[in-house]
Amino acid sequence: MTDEAPGARWAAPEMQRRLARRNAAERRFQRLGQLAIALAMASLGVLLFAIVVRGIGAFQTTELRLDVDLRPETLGLTPDMSDEEREGALAQADYRGVVRDALRALFPEVEGRSQLRELTGLISRGAGVELRGRVVSDPSLVGGSVSVWLPADDEVDLYRKAEGDVSGEGRFSARRIAWTEALSEQGRLRTAFNLRFLTSGDSREPELAGIWGALVGSALTMAITLALVFPLGVAAAVYLEEFAPRSRWTALIEVNINNLAAVPSIVFGLLGLAVFLGAANLPRSAPIVGGLTLALMTLPTIIITGRVSIQAVPPSIREAARGLGASSLQVVVHHVLPLAMPGIMTGTIIGMARALGETAPLLMIGMVAFVVDVPTSFTDASTALPVQIYLWADSPERAFVEKTSGAILVLLAFLIAMNGLAIAMRRRFEKRW
């Protein structure tokens, strides 16, 4: 070696080949990483695109313009009625009949029971209820013939969205197609923003079904979960990290928490069923029970991430505070928690996102029921967004296909809103330091 010129060892061809191999390996690894990311982004893009394309229809609906006869005598009002009687009569009038007659008046040539029934099928079953709602809230409509936009049947809606492509459709008969086209020519059909989808509860009629009930149910459930899981999880993490003596008991608790995080969610559903419904007799299908059950499921995740972020706070900060005479609680509240908070919030976001998308435990505690009313309290019967998606995906009506994708979009929007809020809060915490 001593007779070689300096650097000759590194210029040898064997060394050069070795170097080239090492560099090539590094380039390969980088390419692989880029490929993996590209693949992930592409599948996410395809998924989102597919859902948006399918679900966008859920936000549009077809409405039918009818000239309804709202004369007092058709509604069963008489001039000698008191205000109270008038109100009662207005609420109880046969609006379904009014709507039916208005539609039949457009096609006087239709005769026969079955044909008439087929014609009436063009308008939604809920049109009468909707008309009643409008009249009751605005009695000045009563008086003569009024032109109103009412929801069309989901089959009409689907026919229009398919742009005439109804091949293989047995249910939407040639006669109905003809009527629909006739209505269209008269300018009596329009595509409107589907406000009902965002503001009403579930329904058997796809054109009336809405996501609001499930959204409120999910929000109430998440509120319960967050209210329980955040303080409990943080308190448990702080106690285990900062106060608990290192003993066999704490080791056992640690192992159990880690195991609980890996338990399938349906098991928590069974636990919720046995404890909250069976033993505590809480109301079935209620957000409070759903929230409690999901809290059980989320707690281990939050405790684990909380402990990790508390561990990540440098011990020198604790020593500095303690050295100044801060008590253990002051060390935690003034120094450890503020520094660990961004990490704890990240864990909370992950846990809550998982809880929001969870269906299985909610099935066990009865949140899978068909609920029309929008829940107004924590103890009302309710569903949740993922359960609503599951229910609609399971429905036979074709129109529920787009509702399902629409509901997925709403769920994603809810998730993004929730995470966005958490991230904004985390930012604020970080700025304080």
């Binding site: 290192r246 020593e319 505070a321 050295g323 005479g325 330091w433």
Partner: protein
């Protein structure tokens, strides 16, 4: 500044009163008598007795792992937080047992401040770093009182001129030497009687070290200071008393000039002359 002066007067009154109460301790602020420290099965400090005197700097020197830092941390019970650590023997502050029922550990640490090896300012503003101690102990109530304490402490730590315009900047944005002086300012803001320094210059460059040494020299007149150091010259420069530790035992202690010029023990002279360490 009025508050600081007032505090000083109070402090002098207090120490006078305490001296009258316990005349036998003389000028020793803290005394360790027959202290043993165990980490699990390891006997880290063996039967050490050492006094820390008022208005003097006591240097604790010795090779790594000789137990000097461990002993220092006993003086304000910082070892309490280490589960496997056990301290035996008696340590007193102004004649009062620091492990006794009458001594609360929180109060003890306010009276016996500490500066650590690595500068460890809180990730808060310079102001809040210094004001934190007075705040948790309720030493001031109004904003102006806090301002006075912060200014006085920073001035005493020789940092006021450098940071008076950046009080709201995070303490972690200062340079290493400034951070360590900030930590000293933070420690003296609660007006302690004793300051423990655990190798305060080991993470600093020579210029910052010189600055801290000057500061220790100036602070000597106000506080009883105990400093652990690896640096012989530093011990010789800043301390009036030196205690030499080896393998968990106190080999000898006495006035610094005696230890450095005329050590009684062969081990001490070997260490000081650089034969091992």
């Amino acid at each position: 500044m009025a508050t600081a002066q007032l505090a000083e007067v109070k402090r002098e009154e207090r120490s006078l009163a305490e001296e009258a109460q316990a005349p036998d301790t003389g000028r020793a602020r803290m005394r360790a008598k027959g202290v043993d420290v165990y980490y699990g099965d390891t006997h880290a400090v063996q039967n050490v007795s050492l006094d820390i005197y008022e208005d003097e700097v006591t240097a604790l020197i010795g090779p790594s792992g000789c137990g000097k830092s461990t002993l220092l941390r006993c003086f304000n019970r910082m070892n309490d937080t280490i589960p496997s650590c056990r301290v035996e023997g008696e340590i007193t502050l102004d004649g009062m047992d620091i492990h006794g029922d009458q001594m609360d550990v929180v109060q003890l640490r306010a009276r016996v401040g500490m500066v650590f090896q690595k500068p460890n300012p809180f990730p808060k503003s310079v102001y809040d770093n210094v004001a934190y101690g007075p705040r948790i102990h309720g030493l001031a109530s109004s904003r102006s009182e806090f301002d006075a304490i912060v200014e006085a402490s920073l001035a005493r730590a020789g940092l006021w001129e450098e940071v008076k315009d950046r009080l709201s900047e995070p303490g972690t944005s200062l340079s290493g030497g400034q951070q360590q002086r900030l930590c000293i300012a933070r420690a003296i803001a609660v007006d302690p009687e004793v300051i423990l320094m655990d190798e305060p210059c080991s993470a600093l460059d020579p210029i910052a070290t010189a600055r801290i040494e000057e500061l220790i020299y100036e602070l000597r007149g106000r506080y009883a200071i105990a400093i652990v150091t690896h640096n012989m010259q530093q011990a010789a420069r800043v301390s009036q008393r030196t205690a030499f530790f080896h393998l968990g035992t106190l080999v000898e202690s006495g006035p610094t000039d005696e230890i450095f010029t005329n050590p009684r023990e062969a081990r001490t002279s070997d260490y000081i002359t650089g034969r091992y360490g």
